[in-house]
């Protein structure tokens, strides 16, 4: 009896060990279809569904809309079945999940990433499949897309990313608070001097001197992203031809100095502390919706958040202000990009979906929801909101196609550079560090990071 127990316990231990080791091993993706048999028209030689594993980065309202888009794709291409997974942090590119998947062999076939410069950096590191062959096969219309997006799509002459849309960053301002403060709601600020003046007028304090309404906070919302104001100041921080970073420039120094001016207008510690309790963009508690901030820089998609959570809000949008010599009228463009991770089995299904996102009725709904524009400029006049004379869309279209709009620095060290710039700005704001010294140090470190990744 004792020997039976001993044998059983040994078997049990071996089973546990085998299970543990098996869990660490590579798994092969089960293909229920044959990629080679698929045609863009939607026919397949087998009756089985082709499973496309899809990772997306959004929860909440964005997720609901995205899943609707997937269901529409499955209706048009019934041979495909999408397995959708919400993976935060840019569909796993910023938290190691995608790299772990790539290394394990259990790779998603398609990821949509809401951080274009980080996605580009990931492509330079070898994380995505090259898509030129598949794009040629499905007849991608290169000459018809917004040419400003081309640098984002290609690295070293090969295509890795397919943009779904273009998003702009605009100045949201509360027309009711403008009127209350005696400002003309039809005349938003265009220059930094005007913005600063308006910010002062729109700032309110209580009897104790605590700020109850901020006119404007440069480093709030999209302003937290280093590209937003650096771009508006006219900075060109990276030359792709020479692979050189230029951060210690008059434009960047002016940008930092301008933001440091707000540290003197407001107590930066109080802003930081208060900002930790400001609600998320998709919540009724967002500072712009509650009136704690009268003007803010934000993506055009914020119109949808306001429509949902504060439908009666009196506001308007305008191009971001810029200093003389800056890029007034434009902005650093944003885009959600599709990519096929390295080792994916269903690249063609993934690319089909990426292109399906440009179908006129999908883009029309995208535009109605988020005010995003598709990648084909010739379809913009067909948008419902355009025909209906939407209040905001003309401004967004003007900014998107303005000569001052373009892609922010596309480097192999995008996240590192952005973190460094954020941290450097705080060093200037809190410790009154010299912007030129700080930027010179960041330039050196970012250049080293880019050189090391080569």
């Amino acid at each position: 009896m004792k020997s039976i127990k001993r044998v059983l316990s040994i078997v049990l231990m071996l089973c546990i060990a085998a299970t543990l080791l098996a869990a660490c091993g590579k798994t092969e993706q089960k293909d229920t279809g044959d990629q080679g048999n698929v045609t863009p028209g939607g026919d397949t030689n087998t009756g089985e569904k082709i499973v496309v594993k899809y990772w997306y980065p959004w929860g909440g309202d964005s997720e609901t809309w995205d899943l609707w888009r997937v269901s529409e794709f499955e209706k048009k291409y019934p041979q495909y079945k999408f397995e959708c997974t919400y993976v935060p942090e840019g569909a796993g590119i910023s938290n190691g999940k995608l790299a772990a998947a790539v290394n394990s062999g259990d790779v998603p076939d398609l990821v949509v990433i809401d951080r274009p410069t980080e996605a580009y950096a990931y492509a330079t590191q070898g994380g995505f499949e090259q898509l030129d062959d598949v794009l040629d096969k499905v007849g991608f219309e290169w000459d018809k897309i917004n040419q400003a997006l081309l640098p984002l799509m290609k690295y070293d002459g090969k295509t890795y990313l397919i943009p779904q849309n273009t998003d702009t960053t605009v100045l949201f301002y509360r027309t009711d608070l403008f009127a209350e403060a005696g400002l003309d709601p039809n005349n938003p600020p265009k220059t930094m001097a005007e913005l600063d003046e308006y910010a002062k007028i729109l700032t309110k304090k209580d009897a104790s001197g605590n700020v109850t309404q901020y006119g404007f906070i440069p480093w709030l919302d999209a302003g937290l992203d280093p590209q937003t104001w650096s771009w508006m100041f006219g900075a060109n921080v990276y030359d792709v031809n020479t692979n050189k970073v230029s951060l210690n420039t008059p434009e960047m120094i002016a940008n930092f100095k301008w933001q440091m001016g707000y540290a003197e207008l407001y107590d930066p510690a109080a802003i930081k502390s208060a900002a930790s309790s400001f609600g998320e963009a998709f919540s009724a508690n967002h500072a712009f919706m509650t009136g704690k901030v009268a003007m803010t820089a934000m993506g055009n998609w914020f119109c949808n958040a306001i429509r949902i959570y504060a439908p009666d809000l009196e506001y308007n949008i305008a191009p971001l202000p810029a200093p003389e010599g800056g890029r007034y009228g434009g902005c650093a463009l944003n885009s959600n990009v599709c990519a096929v991770p390295r080792g994916a089995k269903q690249a063609e299904g993934a690319v089909l979906f990426a292109l399906f996102c440009q179908e006129p009725y999908i883009m029309d709904d995208n535009n109605k929801q988020w005010r995003s524009l598709g990648i084909y400029p010739d379809r913009i006049n067909e948008l419902t909101l355009m025909k209906e004379g939407d209040k905001f869309l003309p401004t967004i279209v003007d900014i998107t196609f303005n000569e001052n709009s373009g892609m922010w620095a596309l480097t192999s060290a995008a996240t590192f550079m952005n973190d460094k710039l954020r941290s450097g700005l705080e060093e200037c704001i809190y410790n009154k560090a010299d912007p030129a010294t700080v930027l010179a140090q960041i330039e050196k470190e970012v250049q080293a990071a880019i050189d090391a990744s080569a």
């Binding site: 231990m13 546990i16 543990l20 070898g126 502390s273 208060a274 930790s276 996240t415 090391a452």
Partner: protein, 298 residues
């Protein structure tokens, strides 16, 4: 076949019972540890094959990394002040809760333990609201301070107070230390206290001559586990402050995470991790040495 004697059989059974842990240790601890050391000698971005570069990562950390000393300082600050404060506070609370003259201590024990059951993300959101509710009067903390005439700082927004804000929060959630202290306190024989009472000893004498010496192994255990947990401090900085303001809450573990997963420098992050392991080991040995435990073992 020669029969196995009783001692050998007992040893085999012991090993079999420990086998799940041994396998887990080998697969999930020792192997990653050694693998991380190998990666620390390579340039590795998680996507391409690691490329051996010798000690370059270590050399860069010590000679050309402007953040290394800053994150190390922040983390050691949390270890020195955070662990000290939380150990002293939880020990004092435990002494109170162990006092049989006080009524309702069972309810208080539950109250002090409840925060440890709250998920970290909820704890962080809760304390962000306590430090600042977004109103003009600040959060609950500053409103309470205002009642006694103190103008509270901008806890999470002020680089001089942000680390202390995290320490207060961690101390509030250190109910597990209290439970362990209480376990130790209750194992001290009543006869010792009675003997000192007969000799005319007061509360302080009982505490310093009986309680603390008898509780030393428990204190050492709590200090060491707190040091290890604090060295790995990540969640609060990641969720509440993102390392700011002005990098004042940028903790070592957050720096490792960013290098590994956000900057795709797994080799560099592995080198940082190994340095953290050595520092943690050194601090643990220091705590053991200071407690006299190492000498006692000899």
């Amino acid at each position: 076949m020669k029969p196995i004697n009783r001692t050998a059989r007992s040893q085999i059974n012991g090993i079999l019972f420990a086998l799940p842990w041994i396998l887990g240790f080998l697969v999930f601890t020792l192997y990653p540890l050694l693998q991380a050391f190998y990666y620390s000698l390579t340039k590795y971005n998680l996507l391409k094959e690691p490329k051996f570069i010798g000690l370059s990562n270590y050399i860069k950390i010590f000679t050309d990394d402007s953040l290394f000393l800053k994150v190390l300082y922040n983390t050691l600050y949390m270890v020195v002040f955070g662990v000290s404060i939380s150990i002293v506070v939880t020990l004092l609370i435990s002494l109170l809760l162990n006092d049989k003259r006080l009524k309702g201590t069972a309810g208080f024990r539950v109250m002090f333990f409840i925060p440890t059951l709250v998920p970290t993300i909820i704890l962080c959101v809760l304390w962000m609201l306590i430090y600042n509710s977004g109103g003009s009067g600040g959060g609950l903390m500053n409103q309470m301070l205002a009642l006694v005439g103190i103008k509270g700082p901008e806890w999470l927004g002020d680089q001089h107070w942000s680390k202390m804000a995290l320490i207060i929060m961690r101390t509030w959630g250190a109910g597990n230390l209290i439970i362990i202290f209480l376990g130790g306190l209750q194992s001290i024989s009543e006869e010792l206290y009675e003997a000192l009472s007969i000799d005319g000893g007061n509360f302080l004498q009982k505490t310093f001559y009986i309680t603390l010496p008898m509780l030393k192994p428990i204190i050492v255990y709590n200090v060491i586990t707190s040091i290890i947990v604090t060295m790995q401090n990540f969640n609060e900085a990641f969720i509440m402050t993102k390392g700011g303001p002005a990098d004042s809450t940028y903790m070592y573990a957050l720096y490792v995470y960013r290098n590994a997963f956000q900057y795709s420098n797994m080799g560099y992050a592995s080198a940082l991790s190994w340095i953290m392991l050595v520092i943690t080991l050194a601090l643990t040995l220091l705590a053991l040495k200071a407690s006299g435990w190492l000498n006692e073992s000899e």
